[in-house]
Protein backbone atom coordinates (compact mmCIF):
# COMPACT_ATOMS: atom_id res chain seq x y z
CA UNK A 1 0.00 0.00 0.00
CA UNK A 2 1.32 3.40 -0.95
CA UNK A 3 1.03 6.31 1.46
CA UNK A 4 1.44 10.01 0.78
CA UNK A 5 2.48 12.39 3.55
CA UNK A 6 1.94 16.13 3.18
CA UNK A 7 4.91 17.96 4.65
CA UNK A 8 5.05 21.66 5.38
CA UNK A 9 8.28 23.49 6.03
CA UNK A 10 7.85 26.04 8.83
CA UNK A 11 10.00 28.15 11.14
CA UNK A 12 11.24 26.16 14.14
CA UNK A 13 8.71 26.57 16.97
CA UNK A 14 11.38 28.28 19.07
CA UNK A 15 12.13 30.81 16.32
CA UNK A 16 11.66 34.51 16.94
CA UNK A 17 9.25 35.92 14.36
CA UNK A 18 10.10 39.43 13.21
CA UNK A 19 7.57 41.57 11.40
CA UNK A 20 8.77 44.46 9.25
CA UNK A 21 6.62 46.60 6.95
CA UNK A 22 3.69 44.18 7.11
CA UNK A 23 5.80 41.15 6.22
CA UNK A 24 7.49 38.33 8.09
CA UNK A 25 11.28 38.56 7.94
CA UNK A 26 13.00 35.28 7.06
CA UNK A 27 16.32 36.44 8.50
CA UNK A 28 17.82 34.09 11.07
CA UNK A 29 14.96 31.59 10.94
CA UNK A 30 15.77 27.90 11.23
CA UNK A 31 13.35 25.88 9.12
CA UNK A 32 11.94 22.51 10.00
CA UNK A 33 9.09 20.08 9.26
CA UNK A 34 5.90 21.25 10.99
CA UNK A 35 5.58 19.21 14.25
CA UNK A 36 2.22 17.59 13.41
CA UNK A 37 3.48 16.67 9.92
CA UNK A 38 6.40 14.87 11.57
CA UNK A 39 3.84 12.78 13.49
CA UNK A 40 2.02 12.06 10.20
CA UNK A 41 5.29 10.97 8.58
CA UNK A 42 6.18 8.74 11.52
CA UNK A 43 2.77 7.05 11.25
CA UNK A 44 3.26 6.40 7.52
CA UNK A 45 6.70 4.88 8.16
CA UNK A 46 5.30 2.62 10.90
CA UNK A 47 2.51 1.47 8.55
CA UNK A 48 5.14 0.61 5.95
CA UNK A 49 7.29 -1.23 8.49
CA UNK A 50 4.25 -3.27 9.52
CA UNK A 51 2.56 -3.98 6.18
CA UNK A 52 4.94 -2.98 3.39
CA UNK A 53 4.37 -0.45 0.60
CA UNK A 54 6.01 2.90 0.09
CA UNK A 55 6.02 6.29 1.77
CA UNK A 56 6.10 9.40 -0.38
CA UNK A 57 6.66 12.80 1.19
CA UNK A 58 5.27 15.83 -0.64
CA UNK A 59 5.98 19.49 -0.01
CA UNK A 60 4.69 22.61 -1.78
CA UNK A 61 6.77 25.75 -2.19
CA UNK A 62 9.96 27.16 -3.66
CA UNK A 63 13.27 25.25 -3.84
CA UNK A 64 13.96 25.79 -0.12
CA UNK A 65 11.31 23.20 0.88
CA UNK A 66 13.57 20.50 -0.54
CA UNK A 67 15.34 20.67 2.84
CA UNK A 68 12.17 19.43 4.54
CA UNK A 69 11.95 16.60 2.00
CA UNK A 70 15.57 15.64 2.76
CA UNK A 71 14.62 15.48 6.45
CA UNK A 72 11.69 13.25 5.48
CA UNK A 73 14.11 10.94 3.62
CA UNK A 74 16.32 10.85 6.72
CA UNK A 75 13.36 9.69 8.82
CA UNK A 76 12.48 6.97 6.33
CA UNK A 77 10.44 8.27 3.37
CA UNK A 78 11.13 6.31 0.15
CA UNK A 79 10.34 8.97 -2.43
CA UNK A 80 9.69 12.69 -2.42
CA UNK A 81 7.72 15.10 -4.58
CA UNK A 82 8.47 18.80 -4.62
CA UNK A 83 5.41 20.64 -5.94
CA UNK A 84 7.10 23.73 -7.21
CA UNK A 85 4.91 26.79 -7.31
CA UNK A 86 5.79 30.37 -8.10
CA UNK A 87 4.60 32.93 -5.59
CA UNK A 88 3.90 30.39 -2.85
CA UNK A 89 1.73 31.97 -0.19
CA UNK A 90 1.49 30.05 3.07
CA UNK A 91 -2.11 31.12 3.76
CA UNK A 92 -3.47 30.23 0.31
CA UNK A 93 -4.80 26.82 1.32
CA UNK A 94 -7.09 26.39 -1.68
CA UNK A 95 -4.24 27.03 -4.12
CA UNK A 96 -1.92 24.69 -2.23
CA UNK A 97 -4.52 21.89 -2.08
CA UNK A 98 -5.29 22.36 -5.78
CA UNK A 99 -1.57 22.15 -6.59
CA UNK A 100 -1.28 18.92 -4.58
CA UNK A 101 -4.38 17.48 -6.29
CA UNK A 102 -2.84 18.28 -9.67
CA UNK A 103 0.56 16.85 -8.77
CA UNK A 104 -0.84 13.50 -7.59
CA UNK A 105 -3.28 13.07 -10.48
CA UNK A 106 -3.21 9.41 -11.56
CA UNK A 107 -1.13 8.21 -8.58
CA UNK A 108 -2.40 5.34 -6.44
CA UNK A 109 -2.15 6.46 -2.81
CA UNK A 110 -4.53 4.69 -0.45
CA UNK A 111 -3.80 6.80 2.60
CA UNK A 112 -2.86 10.48 2.67
CA UNK A 113 -1.51 11.63 6.03
CA UNK A 114 -0.92 15.21 7.15
CA UNK A 115 -0.58 17.13 10.38
CA UNK A 116 -3.79 18.54 11.84
CA UNK A 117 -2.47 22.05 11.23
CA UNK A 118 0.71 23.80 10.15
CA UNK A 119 2.51 25.44 13.05
CA UNK A 120 2.86 28.67 11.02
CA UNK A 121 -0.67 29.41 9.80
CA UNK A 122 -2.39 27.23 12.44
CA UNK A 123 -5.25 26.78 9.95
CA UNK A 124 -5.61 23.06 9.27
CA UNK A 125 -7.36 23.60 5.94
CA UNK A 126 -5.29 21.91 3.22
CA UNK A 127 -6.04 18.23 4.02
CA UNK A 128 -9.79 18.87 4.17
CA UNK A 129 -9.80 20.90 0.94
CA UNK A 130 -7.76 18.20 -0.82
CA UNK A 131 -10.13 15.44 0.37
CA UNK A 132 -13.18 17.42 -0.72
CA UNK A 133 -11.68 18.24 -4.13
CA UNK A 134 -10.97 14.53 -4.64
CA UNK A 135 -14.22 13.26 -3.12
CA UNK A 136 -12.32 11.24 -0.50
CA UNK A 137 -13.13 10.71 3.14
CA UNK A 138 -11.24 12.82 5.67
CA UNK A 139 -10.87 12.12 9.37
CA UNK A 140 -9.40 14.85 11.55
CA UNK A 141 -7.28 14.62 14.75
CA UNK A 142 -6.35 10.93 14.54
CA UNK A 143 -4.77 9.24 17.55
CA UNK A 144 -4.77 5.69 16.15
CA UNK A 145 -4.89 4.39 12.57
CA UNK A 146 -5.45 0.82 11.31
CA UNK A 147 -5.67 0.05 7.61
CA UNK A 148 -6.83 -3.37 6.48
CA UNK A 149 -8.22 -4.49 3.16
CA UNK A 150 -10.17 -1.68 1.57
CA UNK A 151 -10.92 0.36 4.65
CA UNK A 152 -9.28 2.38 7.40
CA UNK A 153 -10.35 2.47 11.03
CA UNK A 154 -9.36 5.67 12.74
CA UNK A 155 -9.63 6.56 16.40
CA UNK A 156 -9.66 10.28 16.90
CA UNK A 157 -10.19 13.07 19.29
CA UNK A 158 -13.70 14.34 18.61
CA UNK A 159 -16.05 16.99 19.87
CA UNK A 160 -16.44 16.30 23.60
CA UNK A 161 -14.88 12.86 23.57
CA UNK A 162 -13.25 10.20 21.46
CA UNK A 163 -14.69 8.67 18.32
CA UNK A 164 -13.94 5.78 15.98
CA UNK A 165 -14.39 6.30 12.24
CA UNK A 166 -14.41 3.89 9.36
CA UNK A 167 -13.54 5.18 5.93
CA UNK A 168 -13.25 3.77 2.45
CA UNK A 169 -9.90 4.29 0.70
CA UNK A 170 -8.34 6.58 -0.34
CA UNK A 171 -8.68 8.52 2.88
CA UNK A 172 -7.08 11.70 4.15
CA UNK A 173 -6.14 11.52 7.85
CA UNK A 174 -4.84 14.39 9.95
CA UNK A 175 -2.48 13.53 12.79
CA UNK A 176 -3.03 14.75 16.32
CA UNK A 177 -0.47 14.87 19.13
CA UNK A 178 -0.49 11.48 20.83
CA UNK A 179 -0.70 9.43 17.62
CA UNK A 180 2.96 8.50 18.04
CA UNK A 181 6.34 9.83 19.09
CA UNK A 182 8.34 10.68 15.94
CA UNK A 183 11.76 9.02 15.71
CA UNK A 184 15.05 10.82 15.34
CA UNK A 185 16.68 10.22 11.95
CA UNK A 186 19.51 7.68 12.06
CA UNK A 187 22.99 8.65 10.90
CA UNK A 188 22.60 6.15 8.08
CA UNK A 189 19.29 7.75 7.15
CA UNK A 190 20.83 11.22 7.14
CA UNK A 191 23.71 10.07 4.90
CA UNK A 192 21.34 8.29 2.50
CA UNK A 193 18.94 11.26 2.38
CA UNK A 194 21.49 13.36 0.58
CA UNK A 195 21.64 11.08 -2.43
CA UNK A 196 17.96 10.24 -2.96
CA UNK A 197 16.31 11.99 -5.91
CA UNK A 198 13.47 14.48 -5.35
CA UNK A 199 10.88 14.55 -8.10
CA UNK A 200 10.10 18.16 -9.03
CA UNK A 201 6.62 18.96 -10.35
CA UNK A 202 6.03 22.59 -11.33
CA UNK A 203 2.38 23.63 -10.92
CA UNK A 204 0.99 27.08 -11.65
CA UNK A 205 -1.57 28.07 -9.00
CA UNK A 206 -1.64 31.83 -9.59
CA UNK A 207 -5.23 31.91 -10.84
CA UNK A 208 -6.54 29.84 -7.94
CA UNK A 209 -5.76 32.26 -5.09
CA UNK A 210 -8.89 32.94 -3.06
CA UNK A 211 -7.41 34.87 -0.12
CA UNK A 212 -6.14 38.45 0.14
CA UNK A 213 -3.34 38.81 2.66
CA UNK A 214 -3.54 42.40 3.91
CA UNK A 215 -0.43 42.26 6.07
CA UNK A 216 1.27 40.93 9.15
CA UNK A 217 1.81 42.77 12.41
CA UNK A 218 3.44 42.04 15.75
CA UNK A 219 1.07 40.76 18.45
CA UNK A 220 -0.72 43.54 20.33
CA UNK A 221 1.13 44.42 23.54
CA UNK A 222 -0.66 43.24 26.66
CA UNK A 223 -1.43 46.01 29.14
CA UNK A 224 1.23 46.14 31.84
CA UNK A 225 0.47 43.90 34.78
CA UNK A 226 1.53 44.16 38.36
CA UNK A 227 3.06 41.98 41.01
CA UNK A 228 0.81 41.28 43.99
CA UNK A 229 2.82 42.09 47.09
CA UNK A 230 2.16 41.08 50.65
CA UNK A 231 3.82 40.03 53.88
CA UNK A 232 3.24 36.33 53.21
CA UNK A 233 1.46 33.98 50.83
CA UNK A 234 -1.86 34.39 52.65
CA UNK A 235 -1.70 38.18 52.35
CA UNK A 236 -0.91 37.88 48.64
CA UNK A 237 -3.82 35.48 48.11
CA UNK A 238 -6.17 37.90 49.84
CA UNK A 239 -4.93 40.82 47.75
CA UNK A 240 -5.29 38.78 44.52
CA UNK A 241 -8.92 37.87 45.25
CA UNK A 242 -9.65 41.52 45.98
CA UNK A 243 -8.08 42.58 42.66
CA UNK A 244 -9.98 39.89 40.72
CA UNK A 245 -13.27 41.03 42.26
CA UNK A 246 -12.87 44.77 42.42
CA UNK A 247 -10.41 45.79 39.70
CA UNK A 248 -11.21 43.48 36.79
CA UNK A 249 -14.46 41.94 38.05
CA UNK A 250 -13.46 38.59 36.62
CA UNK A 251 -15.00 36.43 39.35
Amino acid sequence: MNTLVLIKQVPDTEAKINVAAGKISDAGIKWTISPYDEIALEEAIRMKEKSGGTVTALAVGDDSVQNALRSAFAMGADTAIHVKVDGYQMLDSFGIAKAIATAIEGADYKVILAGRQGSDSDNGQVPLILATLKGWGCVSFAKKVEVSGDKAVIECEADGGEAVYESSLPVVITANAGLNEPRYPSLKGIMASKKKPIESKPVNIGAETKIDVLGFEPPPARPAGRTIDGADAAAKAKELVKALREEIKAI
Binding site: T13, I129, D159, G160, G161, E162, L214, G225, A237, A250
Partner: protein, 315 residues
Amino acid sequence: MAKILAVGEIAGGVLRKASRETTSVGKKLGDVSTVLIGSGAAAGAAEVAKHGAATVYVGEIATYNGEAYAKAIADIVKGKGYEIVILPHSWIGRDISSRIATLLNTGVVSDATDISMDGDRVKIRKPVYSGKAFVSLKVKSSPQVITIRPNAHPIAESAGAGAVENITVDAGASKAKQVKFEAKSGSRVSLTEADVVVSGGRGIKGPENFPLIEQLADILGAGVGATRAVVDAGWCDHTLQIGQTGQTVSPKLYIAVGISGAIQHMAGMGSSKYIVAINKDPDAPIFKVSTYGIVDDLFNVLPPLKDELKAALGK
Protein backbone atom coordinates in the same frame (compact mmCIF):
# COMPACT_ATOMS: atom_id res chain seq x y z
CA MET B 1 -26.88 44.45 4.37
CA ALA B 2 -24.87 41.31 3.79
CA LYS B 3 -26.75 38.01 3.85
CA ILE B 4 -25.06 35.91 6.52
CA LEU B 5 -25.43 32.29 7.57
CA ALA B 6 -24.16 31.53 11.08
CA VAL B 7 -23.39 27.90 11.85
CA GLY B 8 -24.30 26.83 15.38
CA GLU B 9 -23.68 23.67 17.35
CA ILE B 10 -26.14 21.54 19.25
CA ALA B 11 -26.02 18.04 20.70
CA GLY B 12 -28.60 16.22 22.75
CA GLY B 13 -30.85 19.27 22.49
CA VAL B 14 -28.28 21.39 24.35
CA LEU B 15 -27.23 24.50 22.46
CA ARG B 16 -23.51 25.27 22.56
CA LYS B 17 -22.26 28.72 23.48
CA ALA B 18 -20.57 28.86 20.05
CA SER B 19 -24.02 29.12 18.43
CA ARG B 20 -24.72 32.35 20.31
CA GLU B 21 -21.30 33.70 19.32
CA THR B 22 -21.58 33.01 15.58
CA THR B 23 -25.16 34.33 15.48
CA SER B 24 -24.20 37.48 17.43
CA VAL B 25 -21.23 38.14 15.14
CA GLY B 26 -23.43 37.54 12.09
CA LYS B 27 -26.02 40.00 13.41
CA LYS B 28 -23.30 42.60 13.96
CA LEU B 29 -22.13 42.24 10.35
CA GLY B 30 -25.48 41.97 8.54
CA ASP B 31 -28.76 40.04 8.26
CA VAL B 32 -28.21 36.74 9.98
CA SER B 33 -29.86 33.35 9.85
CA THR B 34 -28.53 30.31 11.69
CA VAL B 35 -28.19 26.64 10.88
CA LEU B 36 -28.32 24.05 13.67
CA ILE B 37 -27.50 20.43 12.89
CA GLY B 38 -27.33 17.69 15.49
CA SER B 39 -29.45 15.60 17.81
CA GLY B 40 -32.39 17.55 19.22
CA ALA B 41 -31.53 20.50 16.97
CA ALA B 42 -35.08 21.95 17.02
CA ALA B 43 -34.67 22.79 20.71
CA GLY B 44 -32.08 25.47 19.87
CA ALA B 45 -34.14 27.48 17.37
CA ALA B 46 -35.82 29.81 19.84
CA GLU B 47 -32.48 30.33 21.60
CA VAL B 48 -30.54 31.55 18.56
CA ALA B 49 -33.51 33.73 17.58
CA LYS B 50 -32.72 35.75 20.73
CA HIS B 51 -29.40 36.72 19.12
CA GLY B 52 -30.95 37.87 15.85
CA ALA B 53 -31.51 34.78 13.67
CA ALA B 54 -34.24 35.53 11.11
CA THR B 55 -34.46 31.96 9.85
CA VAL B 56 -33.22 28.91 11.72
CA TYR B 57 -32.41 25.89 9.54
CA VAL B 58 -32.84 22.78 11.63
CA GLY B 59 -31.29 19.46 10.65
CA GLU B 60 -31.84 16.40 12.85
CA ILE B 61 -29.13 13.74 12.78
CA ALA B 62 -28.11 11.35 15.53
CA THR B 63 -24.39 11.10 14.77
CA TYR B 64 -21.92 13.76 13.67
CA ASN B 65 -20.67 13.41 10.10
CA GLY B 66 -18.41 16.06 8.58
CA GLU B 67 -19.15 15.27 4.95
CA ALA B 68 -22.93 15.31 5.51
CA TYR B 69 -22.91 18.49 7.60
CA ALA B 70 -20.76 20.28 5.02
CA LYS B 71 -22.97 19.23 2.10
CA ALA B 72 -26.17 20.29 3.89
CA ILE B 73 -24.74 23.69 4.80
CA ALA B 74 -23.22 24.28 1.34
CA ASP B 75 -26.63 23.45 -0.18
CA ILE B 76 -28.34 26.10 1.99
CA VAL B 77 -25.71 28.69 1.05
CA LYS B 78 -26.15 27.93 -2.65
CA GLY B 79 -29.93 27.62 -2.55
CA LYS B 80 -30.60 30.77 -0.53
CA GLY B 81 -27.74 32.91 -1.79
CA TYR B 82 -25.88 33.58 1.46
CA GLU B 83 -22.82 35.77 0.96
CA ILE B 84 -20.98 35.06 4.20
CA VAL B 85 -20.78 31.88 6.32
CA ILE B 86 -19.58 32.18 9.92
CA LEU B 87 -18.57 29.08 11.90
CA PRO B 88 -16.96 28.57 15.29
CA HIS B 89 -13.28 27.52 15.16
CA SER B 90 -14.28 24.55 17.29
CA TRP B 91 -13.65 20.86 16.64
CA ILE B 92 -16.69 20.71 14.35
CA GLY B 93 -16.07 24.11 12.74
CA ARG B 94 -12.49 23.14 11.88
CA ASP B 95 -13.70 19.85 10.42
CA ILE B 96 -16.42 21.31 8.18
CA SER B 97 -15.42 24.90 7.26
CA SER B 98 -12.83 23.92 4.63
CA ARG B 99 -15.16 21.27 3.22
CA ILE B 100 -17.98 23.83 2.88
CA ALA B 101 -15.67 26.35 1.19
CA THR B 102 -14.42 23.74 -1.27
CA LEU B 103 -17.94 22.57 -2.15
CA LEU B 104 -18.70 26.25 -2.88
CA ASN B 105 -15.43 26.68 -4.79
CA THR B 106 -14.39 29.53 -2.55
CA GLY B 107 -11.81 30.47 0.08
CA VAL B 108 -11.88 30.12 3.85
CA VAL B 109 -10.13 32.04 6.62
CA SER B 110 -9.85 30.51 10.07
CA ASP B 111 -9.72 31.40 13.76
CA ALA B 112 -10.58 35.13 13.59
CA THR B 113 -9.95 36.98 16.83
CA ASP B 114 -11.16 40.25 15.23
CA ILE B 115 -13.80 40.55 12.53
CA SER B 116 -15.35 43.53 10.73
CA MET B 117 -16.93 44.50 7.41
CA ASP B 118 -14.89 46.40 4.83
CA GLY B 119 -17.27 47.18 1.97
CA ASP B 120 -18.76 43.84 0.95
CA ARG B 121 -15.75 41.91 2.29
CA VAL B 122 -15.20 40.55 5.78
CA LYS B 123 -11.83 41.56 7.18
CA ILE B 124 -10.42 39.30 9.85
CA ARG B 125 -7.34 39.28 12.02
CA LYS B 126 -5.91 36.06 13.38
CA PRO B 127 -2.83 34.90 15.24
CA VAL B 128 -0.15 33.03 13.27
CA TYR B 129 3.14 31.43 14.33
CA SER B 130 1.52 30.47 17.64
CA GLY B 131 0.59 34.05 18.41
CA LYS B 132 4.05 35.45 17.67
CA ALA B 133 2.48 37.52 14.87
CA PHE B 134 -0.97 38.45 13.60
CA VAL B 135 -2.19 38.60 10.02
CA SER B 136 -5.14 40.41 8.46
CA LEU B 137 -7.00 38.57 5.72
CA LYS B 138 -9.99 38.72 3.41
CA VAL B 139 -11.58 36.04 1.30
CA LYS B 140 -11.64 37.47 -2.22
CA SER B 141 -13.87 34.83 -3.78
CA SER B 142 -17.57 34.51 -2.96
CA PRO B 143 -19.22 33.40 -0.77
CA GLN B 144 -16.84 34.12 2.11
CA VAL B 145 -16.32 31.36 4.68
CA ILE B 146 -14.93 32.38 8.08
CA THR B 147 -14.32 30.64 11.40
CA ILE B 148 -14.14 32.67 14.62
CA ARG B 149 -12.17 31.82 17.76
CA PRO B 150 -14.49 30.47 20.47
CA ASN B 151 -14.97 32.66 23.56
CA ALA B 152 -13.28 35.63 21.85
CA HIS B 153 -16.37 37.41 20.47
CA PRO B 154 -19.18 39.10 22.42
CA ILE B 155 -22.64 37.58 22.65
CA ALA B 156 -25.40 40.15 22.08
CA GLU B 157 -29.16 39.97 22.52
CA SER B 158 -31.23 41.01 19.50
CA ALA B 159 -34.66 39.58 18.73
CA GLY B 160 -34.89 37.77 15.40
CA ALA B 161 -37.96 36.16 13.78
CA GLY B 162 -36.52 32.66 14.29
CA ALA B 163 -38.66 31.10 11.53
CA VAL B 164 -37.85 27.40 11.53
CA GLU B 165 -37.06 25.65 8.26
CA ASN B 166 -36.31 21.94 8.42
CA ILE B 167 -33.48 20.54 6.30
CA THR B 168 -32.34 17.01 5.54
CA VAL B 169 -28.87 15.87 6.60
CA ASP B 170 -27.97 12.50 5.17
CA ALA B 171 -24.70 10.69 5.89
CA GLY B 172 -25.63 7.77 3.62
CA ALA B 173 -23.18 8.74 0.87
CA SER B 174 -20.33 9.76 3.19
CA LYS B 175 -16.97 8.04 2.70
CA ALA B 176 -16.03 8.25 6.40
CA LYS B 177 -18.51 7.42 9.12
CA GLN B 178 -18.42 7.51 12.90
CA VAL B 179 -19.03 4.03 14.28
CA LYS B 180 -18.38 4.67 17.97
CA PHE B 181 -18.32 7.61 20.33
CA GLU B 182 -17.24 7.89 23.93
CA ALA B 183 -17.97 11.12 25.79
CA LYS B 184 -15.01 12.34 27.82
CA SER B 185 -15.99 15.73 29.06
CA GLY B 186 -16.92 14.77 32.63
CA SER B 187 -18.84 17.18 34.78
CA ARG B 188 -16.59 20.18 34.29
CA VAL B 189 -17.22 23.02 31.85
CA SER B 190 -15.47 22.47 28.50
CA LEU B 191 -12.09 24.18 28.22
CA THR B 192 -12.86 26.17 25.08
CA GLU B 193 -16.17 27.51 26.47
CA ALA B 194 -14.99 28.26 30.00
CA ASP B 195 -14.95 31.84 31.29
CA VAL B 196 -12.22 30.88 33.74
CA VAL B 197 -9.47 28.31 33.22
CA VAL B 198 -7.11 27.09 35.94
CA SER B 199 -4.00 25.43 34.57
CA GLY B 200 -1.12 23.57 36.17
CA GLY B 201 2.52 23.34 35.10
CA ARG B 202 5.62 21.46 36.14
CA GLY B 203 5.73 23.48 39.36
CA ILE B 204 3.05 21.25 40.87
CA LYS B 205 5.82 18.60 41.12
CA GLY B 206 3.76 15.42 40.77
CA PRO B 207 0.42 13.80 39.92
CA GLU B 208 -0.55 13.72 43.59
CA ASN B 209 -0.78 17.52 43.48
CA PHE B 210 -2.92 17.87 40.36
CA PRO B 211 -6.10 17.76 42.52
CA LEU B 212 -4.98 21.16 43.90
CA ILE B 213 -5.57 22.58 40.41
CA GLU B 214 -8.91 20.81 40.13
CA GLN B 215 -10.07 22.01 43.54
CA LEU B 216 -9.24 25.60 42.68
CA ALA B 217 -11.11 25.21 39.38
CA ASP B 218 -14.17 23.73 41.08
CA ILE B 219 -14.46 26.67 43.48
CA LEU B 220 -14.46 28.99 40.44
CA GLY B 221 -16.63 26.79 38.19
CA ALA B 222 -13.62 26.86 35.87
CA GLY B 223 -12.18 24.57 33.21
CA VAL B 224 -8.99 22.64 34.04
CA GLY B 225 -5.90 22.78 31.85
CA ALA B 226 -2.26 21.73 31.93
CA THR B 227 1.03 22.30 30.17
CA ARG B 228 2.63 19.79 27.83
CA ALA B 229 5.22 18.87 30.48
CA VAL B 230 2.45 17.84 32.88
CA VAL B 231 0.64 15.85 30.20
CA ASP B 232 3.83 14.16 28.95
CA ALA B 233 4.66 13.15 32.51
CA GLY B 234 1.25 11.50 32.76
CA TRP B 235 0.08 13.65 35.68
CA CYS B 236 -3.29 14.34 34.00
CA ASP B 237 -5.30 13.40 30.92
CA HIS B 238 -3.80 14.56 27.60
CA THR B 239 -7.09 16.20 26.59
CA LEU B 240 -6.31 18.92 29.15
CA GLN B 241 -3.18 20.10 27.32
CA ILE B 242 -3.19 23.77 26.41
CA GLY B 243 -0.67 25.10 23.92
CA GLN B 244 0.73 24.68 20.47
CA THR B 245 0.13 20.93 20.34
CA GLY B 246 -2.98 21.04 22.51
CA GLN B 247 -6.06 23.18 22.83
CA THR B 248 -6.37 26.92 22.36
CA VAL B 249 -8.41 28.72 24.98
CA SER B 250 -9.62 32.33 25.29
CA PRO B 251 -11.19 32.63 28.72
CA LYS B 252 -11.88 35.90 30.48
CA LEU B 253 -9.51 34.77 33.24
CA TYR B 254 -6.59 32.32 32.96
CA ILE B 255 -4.88 31.26 36.17
CA ALA B 256 -1.45 29.74 35.50
CA VAL B 257 -0.16 27.78 38.49
CA GLY B 258 3.46 26.67 38.49
CA ILE B 259 3.75 27.46 34.78
CA SER B 260 6.92 29.12 33.50
CA GLY B 261 5.35 30.26 30.22
CA ALA B 262 7.13 28.50 27.37
CA ILE B 263 6.29 30.03 24.00
CA GLN B 264 4.46 26.80 23.03
CA HIS B 265 2.18 27.15 26.05
CA MET B 266 1.55 30.85 25.45
CA ALA B 267 0.35 29.91 21.96
CA GLY B 268 -2.64 28.22 23.55
CA MET B 269 -3.65 30.88 26.10
CA GLY B 270 -2.18 34.18 24.88
CA SER B 271 -5.57 35.55 23.85
CA SER B 272 -7.01 35.22 27.37
CA LYS B 273 -8.38 38.55 28.57
CA TYR B 274 -6.74 38.48 32.01
CA ILE B 275 -3.89 36.25 33.12
CA VAL B 276 -2.88 35.46 36.69
CA ALA B 277 0.46 33.74 37.29
CA ILE B 278 1.58 32.03 40.48
CA ASN B 279 5.21 30.97 40.31
CA LYS B 280 8.15 31.13 42.70
CA ASP B 281 10.60 32.11 39.95
CA PRO B 282 10.41 35.90 39.52
CA ASP B 283 12.08 35.57 36.09
CA ALA B 284 9.47 33.16 34.67
CA PRO B 285 8.34 34.47 31.25
CA ILE B 286 4.66 34.03 32.24
CA PHE B 287 4.97 37.19 34.39
CA LYS B 288 5.61 39.25 31.24
CA VAL B 289 2.06 38.58 30.03
CA SER B 290 0.33 38.48 33.42
CA THR B 291 -2.27 40.94 34.60
CA TYR B 292 -1.44 39.89 38.18
CA GLY B 293 1.57 37.94 39.31
CA ILE B 294 2.28 36.30 42.65
CA VAL B 295 5.93 35.42 43.16
CA ASP B 296 5.77 32.72 45.81
CA ASP B 297 5.65 28.99 46.33
CA LEU B 298 2.35 27.73 44.90
CA PHE B 299 2.01 25.25 47.76
CA ASN B 300 1.91 28.18 50.18
CA VAL B 301 -0.40 30.29 48.02
CA LEU B 302 -3.09 27.80 46.97
CA PRO B 303 -4.51 26.90 50.42
CA PRO B 304 -5.20 30.51 51.50
CA LEU B 305 -6.27 31.36 47.93
CA LYS B 306 -8.89 28.62 48.05
CA ASP B 307 -10.16 29.91 51.40
CA GLU B 308 -10.28 33.51 50.20
CA LEU B 309 -12.15 32.52 47.02
CA LYS B 310 -14.65 30.39 48.95
CA ALA B 311 -15.31 33.29 51.31
CA ALA B 312 -15.61 35.80 48.48
CA LEU B 313 -17.94 33.60 46.45
CA GLY B 314 -19.98 32.48 49.45
CA LYS B 315 -19.07 28.80 49.03
